[in-house]
């Protein structure tokens, strides 16, 4: 007889029968007995020679406000049971519950390597947090619990056997913010024309690529008096000392560097260069001030139009650079400049 499949199940305080909103601060615990959806699941999985060996519970508020601690404690309880599969009770439209179930599933797969599945309404904010685990789509209202648990179980078995290989649309799970390539049967040309004709005729059409949501960066208050301000020069145009001593990458920027401009009135040709792969470098190499105007900035300093020119410039490569890397580097640069008393920066791009 094949080995029994061990399952650990997660519920929030409500589904565990502990209480409603007033008990949302429930700390992570293990339940002594099967209840609610855990009990229902145990019936569903019996014929697969599977058993719910442990149920863990956490309050939605407790999880939301103490995520690291909650995850640590829950992972400890889950790991101790050595499950083959981890399931988290469907969250439906409940945002806090969805965030908790998605986050714990994600951690179980990432840190314990165990297949993990939950379910929720596709717009539930938790759906963006579940990768590399899975969330199946449900209605917004909590309904048809047994059906959802059955679907989750079938899906989890497939994940365990390595059979979930296709896209979210094909395998019927909620997209997790990850895009992967496949070779389609038809070319982009064959697909685009019928879609455009539908759009022209006012018929329904679905885009293959959704527009990204860009976060809006709130501009800080303007500098009140430039004559007293310290200004720094920053560029994503890969301006480096000639020879690129630190080997700044020409694309896929992941590093940034600082170089002294103390006592310099401009970037001298032959002493500095650009190694950016996104534009023809000759014009910049000919006069690197064209990329980062040290000459003009120094004159402004001498004339008193700015208080002081910070004597280090910062450089990175903004060509084919992941948005996440750009964000990280920007944050790091800002922290450095702020710690050095810099008030404003000019950032040049290409």
């Amino acid at each position: 007889m094949a080995d029994q499949i061990k399952v650990v199940f997660y519920m929030n305080q409500f589904f565990a029968g502990i209480g409603g909103e007033e008990k949302a601060d429930q700390i992570p615990i293990e339940l002594e007995e099967l209840k609610g959806p855990a009990l229902a699941l145990s019936q569903v999985i019996k014929e697969s020679n599977a058993e719910v060996v442990k149920t863990v519970v956490c309050g939605d508020s407790f999880f939301g406000e103490n995520e690291e601690q909650a995850k640590k404690e829950l992972l400890g309880m889950i790991k101790a049971a050595s499950p083959d599969i981890f399931l988290a009770s469907p969250a439906f439209g409940s945002g806090r519950n969805g965030v908790a179930t998605a986050s714990i599933c994600s951690a179980v797969t990432q840190e314990l390597g165990i297949p993990a599945v939950t379910a929720m309404y596709p717009d539930n904010p938790g759906s963006e947090l579940v990768y590399p685990a899975y969330a199946l789509p449900t209605s917004n209202r909590a309904e048809k619990m047994i059906n959802v648990l059955e679907d989750m179980w079938d899906f989890a078995l497939k994940v365990k056997d390595g059979e979930v290989r296709g896209s979210a649309a094909r395998e019927n799970y909620i997209p997790r913010g990850v895009r992967k390539n496949e070779v389609d049967e038809s070319t982009a040309a064959e697909r685009v024309l019928p879609l455009l004709l539908s759009k022209i005729k006012g018929e329904a059409y679905v885009t293959e690529v959704a527009l990204p949501k860009h976060d809006a960066v709130e501009a800080p208050k303007p500098v009140t008096n430039m004559k007293k301000a310290t200004l720094a020069l920053v560029t994503e145009g890969s301006l480096v000392p000639f020879g690129n001593p630190d080997k700044l990458e020409s694309w896929w920027g992941e590093h940034w560097y600082k170089y002294s401009i103390e006592g310099l009135d401009d970037f001298e040709k032959g002493k500095y260069e650009t190694i950016h792969a996104g534009f023809e470098n000759a014009n910049i190499d000919d006069d690197p001030d064209r990329l980062l105007p040290l000459d003009v900035a120094r004159i402004a300093e001498k004339e008193g139009r700015i208080g002081k020119l910070f004597d280090i410039y910062l450089t990175t490569t903004g060509m084919e650079t992941a948005t996440s890397s750009a964000k990280r580097m920007g944050r790091e640069m800002a922290e450095f400049l702020r710690s050095e008393g810099v008030d404003a920066a000019i950032v040049t791009g290409t």
Binding site: A188, L196, T207, L211, N281
Partner: protein, 425 residues
């Protein structure tokens, strides 16, 4: 009615031989003649000629351009106008073409060349996983590695190699003159059926500097306003690629000659839609206002064609994306529905946002895949075009893991032939 007749001579195999001829699907090529023709340009130094066929355990590196052999056999105008003959182009006449064959030019910038510190790599694997996503893995290729004799400026170097490729493409097709084709196709825009929607095509092409250029009848597109051009002219080589852009999102001359979007628009022309014409817009303008100006003008030309809808392409990365998105906005504001063909930049893990910028009007985008996905490129028995993977010590036939973006020629092409598509996972 302006009609282009295309005589088809399919190439099923190629070989070097004592003379250059085409017979029953076999293309024989005389090396000495090819070399002599290339050497008509005194600036050419070393030349290495090789052949690759689909399925070979072979890799071609440092690919510069790919061209399908074509020649104009009847009617006014020339093939590749402005490069080999007078820069006079006509949308009618007869041409011979040789599907199944391609001329592949390869070159390498010398390390002390003036513009680029790092040349972009571009490869064609004739077998293996990369062959599935590269159109030139399916053609019988004459590989011509051409190096300059002396130090050359990048633009001059590019033009030298580009011209050599076009010259040999015509030379090979010339041997079909007088032979009976296996098939004939005709291309014409024809009269518009008032009951069908009018669809135009807007090609946004790279025109950053002389090193990242596209040529229209031999004229650089850097600095030009958008222009109308008949699709039949594009089939005859009016658009020639000459850009050192990154491999998978760069347009090759072959992709203009065999433009999947033009072919698709011709296919059901007069049946499901009216194909009303093509506009070319130069991308990579330096000032934002220029991008707006060019996109506004392109939209006006498309409006002049009385288009109800337009398919818009791009070529390259973030900077030119602005022209494409602005063109989308300008068209939609004039009541012209748009669909964009676009590659995505989701990062190696596929978790990044697909584009760095967009306009809310861009609500219909067809994917040509995540360019930044990593692939394993297996070891091949042999490699042509260069000794090592560019800017590495790794021999070019050896295995390597890299992103599609800076490796596989034309894999994410926004000219429509790509089957690569990114899905939500």
């Amino acid at each position: 009615m302006l009609e282009l007749v295309s005589n088809i001579y399919e190439v099923r195999s190629i070989a070097f031989g004592d003379s250059t001829f085409y017979k029953e699907g076999v293309l024989s090529i005389n090396r000495a003649e090819v070399e002599a023709l290339i050497r008509e340009d005194e600036n050419v130094g070393e030349i290495t000629l090789s052949l690759t066929k689909p399925g070979d355990s072979a890799r071609i590196v440092h690919v510069w351009d790919v061209i399908e052999p074509r020649t104009k056999v009847d009617g006014p105008g020339a093939i590749f106008p402005g490069w080999l003959d007078a820069p006079i182009s006509y949308a009618e006449g007869t041409m011979n073409r040789m599907p199944g064959a391609a001329v592949v030019t390869c070159t390498e910038y010398s390390p002390d060349s003036d513009a680029y510190t790092v040349q972009c790599e571009s490869i064609i694997d004739m077998s293996g996983p990369a062959a599935e996503i590269c159109p030139y893995s399916q053609t019988n290729n004459l590989v011509m590695e051409i190096l300059p004799r002396d130090k050359m400026s990048i633009p001059e170097h590019n033009k030298m190699v580009t011209k050599a490729g076009l010259k040999i493409a015509k030379y090979l097709a010339d041997v079909t003159i007088g032979q009976v084709p296996s098939k004939t196709e005709t291309y014409a825009l024809g009269k518009k059926d008032p009951n069908l929607p009018n669809v135009a095509l807007l090609l946004v092409v790279s025109g950053s500097t002389a090193a990242l250029d596209t040529y229209i009848n031999g004229f650089s597109c850097v600095g030009i306003m958008p222009t109308l051009i008949h699709p039949n002219e594009i089939l005859q080589g009016s658009l020639v690629a000459s850009t050192a852009l990154v491999a998978s999102i760069k347009n090759f001359t072959y992709d203009y000659q065999n433009n999947a979007l033009i072919n698709e628009l011709f296919k059901d022309n007069g049946v499901k839609h009216n194909f009303v014409g093509v506009v070319v817009e130069r991308g990579y303008a330096y000032e934002y206002d220029d991008k707006v100006r060019l996109s506004s003008h392109a939209a006006n030309l498309i409006r002049h064609l009385e288009a109800d809808g337009v398919i818009i392409t791009s070529e390259g990365g973030g900077n030119i994306l602005l022209e494409t998105m602005l063109a989308c906005r300008e068209c939609e504001e004039r009541g012209i529905k748009t669909a964009i063909v676009m590659s995505e930049f989701c990062g190696h893990q596929g978790t990044g946002s697909p584009f760095v910028d967009s306009v809310p009007e861009a609500d219909l985008i067809v994917s040509t895949g995540n360019t930044e996905e990593l692939m394993e490129f297996p070891e091949m028995e042999v490699a042509y075009g260069g000794k090592t993977w560019i800017a590495t010590d790794v021999p070019s036939n050896k295995a390597i893991k890299r992103s599609i973006y800076d490796t596989v020629a034309s894999a994410n092409s926004m000219l429509g032939h790509a089957k690569l598509k990114a899905y939500d996972y």
